[in-house]
């Protein structure tokens, strides 16, 4: 009996404590949020006055005030940077960040023993692009705490500049997946400035890093990458060859068109698949004959990419697909039919089949007849299954009917 009474007393105490916790937290949050907004507005006005009148304004604040209100001041500075389109004005705001002593405060925070404080401070130093802190940030990158390391990578991305980019690119060698994926995204944001450093990795780096870099160069889209990517087309590594092909396609490097067209006969199917894709990016009519060849390929992935690329080549590509409906090769016929259907051409011809123009109607009916002929005998796949990119032999091992025809 006593034990039960004691437990009840404890539970009631716990209940009251939690309810009080909710009420106090809520009241504090509402109060401090109102205070915060007022302060941000106050400092923003002060900042704007300082910037407009070139007077002392915010500089008159003493250090204690600055440290006590660092949150609202930081927010006000960042909002002012966001609102301004003038580079000079932005530089002046960044200068004010140092002058009022916040840079110094956050620099000390970057050396704090608490990892959350370190991460926050490094983030802020990145936001205000304080280049002198690059060394500290680089050190922090090697920390065990993943949030500090991530903040450091982000800060380097924000700071930009040669030193930061060089460090970021160097970090691509980091085996930690989380860090690596973030670094790739950050380099992507840096954009064209990172290209010379990425090019260096293409010469010295390991193959796995090179593959990442080749993809990045394609996404960044800087023509300075073309010579090295072209060189990689002769690499022994299939991954590198195929990624370089794709990236050159993304870059629409017309000088490489002939080279990529030649890759249509590469021994490795991933390279052929990417060549088919790249030819679609180029969109040059001279690629049609190569794509018509590739749509007969024994690999589904190559056929699929060729069909898609022919679609992207406009009316000439569409004619090529229609022509392929009569091909002797079963797989070419099927992929052409699938592509014509998924790009909406078949819907278009279904309407044209009832056109007043007799010639046009007859032409459409012939195409639809050929299409139906292919579809009635088909067992094809039009969508890539990222798991089951199986070759013809392996397809037999799948469960259930091999492909599902709908409609």
């Amino acid at each position: 009996m006593f034990l039960i009474k004691l437990s009840i007393a404890f539970i009631i105490f716990g209940d009251i404590l939690l309810i009080l916790g909710i009420v106090v937290k809520r009241m504090r949050r509402e109060y401090s949020y109102r205070q915060y907004l007022n302060k941000v507005a106050k400092y923003k006005k002060m900042l704007k006055d300082t910037l407009n009148s070139k007077g002392k304004g915010i500089l008159l604040l003493n250090k204690t005030e600055v440290i006590a209100d660092r949150g609202p001041i930081k927010k006000a500075l960042l909002e002012c940077i966001e609102e301004t389109s003038s580079e000079r004005r932005e530089k002046r705001i960044l200068w004010l960040f140092r002058e009022i002593g916040l840079a110094e405060f956050y620099f000390a925070g970057a050396l704090s023993s608490n990892h959350i404080t370190r991460a926050r401070a490094i983030d802020t130093l990145g936001d205000f692009k304080i280049e002198e802190t690059v060394d500290v940030i680089v050190k922090a990158l090697r920390e065990r705490s993943d949030i500090v390391a991530a903040s450091s990578a982000r800060a380097l991305g924000n700071i930009g500049g040669d030193v930061a980019i060089k460090v970021l690119v160097g970090l691509l060698n980091d085996p930690h997946l989380a860090k690596q994926s973030m670094i790739i995204s950050l380099i992507e944001n840096v954009g064209n400035d990172a290209v010379p450093y990425l090019n260096k990795i293409l010469i010295n780096g390991s193959n796995s890093i090179k593959v990442q870099v080749v993809k990045l160069l394609g996404d960044i889209g800087d023509e300075r990458a073309i010579p090295l990517l072209l060189y990689l087309l002769d690499s022994d590594n299939i991954d590198l060859r195929s990624k370089a092909t794709e990236s050159l396609g993304k870059l629409k490097a017309m000088s490489c068109l002939a080279h990529i067209q030649n890759l249509a006969s590469d021994d490795a199917w991933p390279v052929r698949a990417m060549a088919a894709k790249a030819l679609g990016y180029f969109g040059h009519p001279s690629s049609i004959k190569f794509l018509k060849e590739l749509i007969r390929d024994e690999e589904w992935g190559v056929r699929k990419n060729s069909g898609r690329s022919l679609s992207e080549l406009g009316i000439e590509g569409e004619y090529a697909l229609i022509e392929m409906l009569k091909s002797v090769d079963k797989f070419a016929r099927e992929m052409s039919a699938a592509e014509l259907e998924s790009n909406g051409a078949i819907t278009k011809f279904s309407l044209l089949a009832f056109s007043d123009d007799r010639k046009e109607a007859e032409n459409a009916q012939t195409i639809l007849f050929d299409f139906d002929n292919v579809i009635s005998k088909t067992s094809m796949a039009t969508r890539f299954d990222s798991i089951g990119q199986k070759d013809r032999n392996k397809e037999k091992e799948t469960t259930g009917p091999l492909f599902q025809k709908v409609g």
Partner: protein
């Protein structure tokens, strides 16, 4: 042995059960609270902004199985199309709807028949037709013959999907704009992570415009209010606690993100169970542990998915019976894992917990209630003692619910109005007077008698008919 000795024995079992179950709740609460606090401390450094704009972020296929969802499907798809994520495709699997689900979709998004042909890696019922949208390039609709099973619809969606990651959601749910960005983080961080679950919360009563939650409010319905407390308790303490121990057994079918290769490896969703979501997760644990594969299944407390909870008893009965039957089937299908050290903490801790405290829990709860009643009637217990027991158990239940509300207030703070928070604290007390006992009764009934049809056709009120913000400027 006389009646008194038997009674004493049963009494000890019941009291031991209540002690253990409450102890486990407290432990889960502490672990859950700790992991949520950690998560929110780290959140500003998660790089969500970078993920949301990077081309390197893995694209996601969002699978939306829909069976007679005309009330919510348009709002749901519109909300999905607004998601802040670099690349994704939405695949609505129309599983033999007999209402206007498909027609609404066709008219709203200008669908045209594409009749795609695709590889059937997982065996499913036949697909009649596929449609793509003329207006949005990343929306696809599959019309398939229904086998009366959501799992089959998901498998068809999996066959059709083209990305490495997929997110399974219910058609009656609304996902918050940044939910995918937050949810994908663990999958980007480590290849060991094969699945991530998010938090599901009750949308009833909230202000919703064009599939977006504008203001989180509490509903008028008593039952829906009780469920708000229940969902908060289950997700904020239970799931985050299990996830911290890498023993998460359930990822809600309403909102889960998976690595497609891992799901394909274990054979996709099983169609012979109605608890396909939990069964898939438990099977992943089983198979990966048998293969000695390193893997992790995570729960992230922040990406929020809002769902419409049933507001009447009939629907609540059907939903809970289905959930309990699903749990029973999941445990039955993976019973060899229970108390099997080969399966580590899943076999030795998580599954036995779910078996004893979740599946068989209603037997003890109703049994305990009857025992006290009998004890009181036969004079074994005096009225004050019985009253103290009842007060203790009610207050303890309240403690956990208010604890969950505390976490909500501390970390999420989604209810802006004081009145809503006050209302929820009130309901955290009131739910102990009937609602929790009712749930125990429903679960017991499900366990003992009920055979349920597979797809749960709960008539929806629809988000559109909830409070609408007059002008979202």
């Amino acid at each position: 042995m006389n009646f008194e000795s038997y009674f004493k024995m049963v009494e000890i079992v019941i009291i031991a059960y209540f002690f253990l179950v409450n102890l486990s709740y407290v432990i889960l609460f502490i672990i859950g609270l700790n992991s949520i606090i950690k998560y929110f401390r780290r959140k500003p450094f998660s790089g969500a902004e970078i993920i949301s704009r990077s081309k390197s972020t893995l694209p996601i296929s969002i699978l939306v199985p829909a069976c007679n969802e005309e009330q919510t499907i348009i709002d749901n798809v519109k909300a999905l199309l607004k998601l802040n994520y670099p690349k994704f495709e939405i695949i609505v699997i129309n599983d033999g709807s007999t209402d206007g689900t498909f027609n609404l979709l066709r008219d709203e998004f200008n669908l045209i028949r594409s009749n795609a042909v695709f590889q059937q890696t997982l065996k499913t019922e036949p697909v009649h037709s596929t449609y793509s949208s003329m207006d949005v390039s990343n929306l696809f609709v599959i019309n398939k013959k229904s086998c009366g099973n959501k799992a089959d619809a998901l498998n068809a969606g999996l066959n059709f999907s083209k990305f490495q990651l997929y997110c399974a959601i219910d058609a009656d749910t609304i996902i918050e704009n940044n939910a995918l960005v937050r949810m994908v983080k663990p999958l980007l961080d480590s290849t060991e992570v094969v699945a991530v679950g998010g938090i599901v919360r009750v949308a009833n009563g909230s202000e919703i415009t064009e599939g977006e939650i504008k203001k989180v409010r509490t509903p008028r319905s008593l039952i829906a209010n009780f469920q708000i407390i229940e969902y908060l308790r289950a997700f904020l303490t239970g799931r985050s606690g299990w996830s911290a121990m890498n023993s998460l057994l359930i990822i809600s079918g309403a909102f889960g993100l998976f690595r497609k290769a891992a799901v394909m490896e274990v054979g996709g969703y099983r169609v012979d169970t109605i608890g396909e979501d939990a069964e898939l997760v438990v099977r992943m644990h089983r198979i990966f542990r048998e293969k000695k594969r390193k893997y992790q299944i995570k729960f992230v407390a922040d990406p929020i998915c809002w769902t419409e909870a049933p507001e009447n008893l009939k629907m609540l009965f059907r939903q809970r019976e289905r959930w309990h039957k699903g749990l029973f089937e999941t445990i039955r299908m993976n019973r060899k894992m229970i108390f099997n050290p080969k399966y580590g903490r899943i076999g030795m801790l998580a599954l036995p917990y779910f078996l004893i405290f979740e599946l068989l829990g209603p037997i003890f709860e109703i049994g305990g209630f009857l025992l006290f009643l009998v004890a009181f009637l036969t004079g074994f217990y005096t009225a004050p003692l019985l009253l103290l027991f009842i007060v203790a158990s009610i207050l303890f239940g309240t403690l956990l619910s208010i604890g969950a509300l505390f976490i909500e207030e501390y970390d999420f703070n989604r209810y802006e109005k004081w009145t809503d928070v006050g209302k929820l604290i009130f309901f955290a007390f009131v739910e102990n007077f009937g609602f929790r006992q009712l749930l125990a009764f429903i679960r017991l009934r499900a366990l003992l008698f009920i055979k349920i049809s597979s797809w749960e056709l709960i008539p929806r009120k629809g988000f559109a008919k909830q409070k609408i913000v007059p002008d979202a400027k």
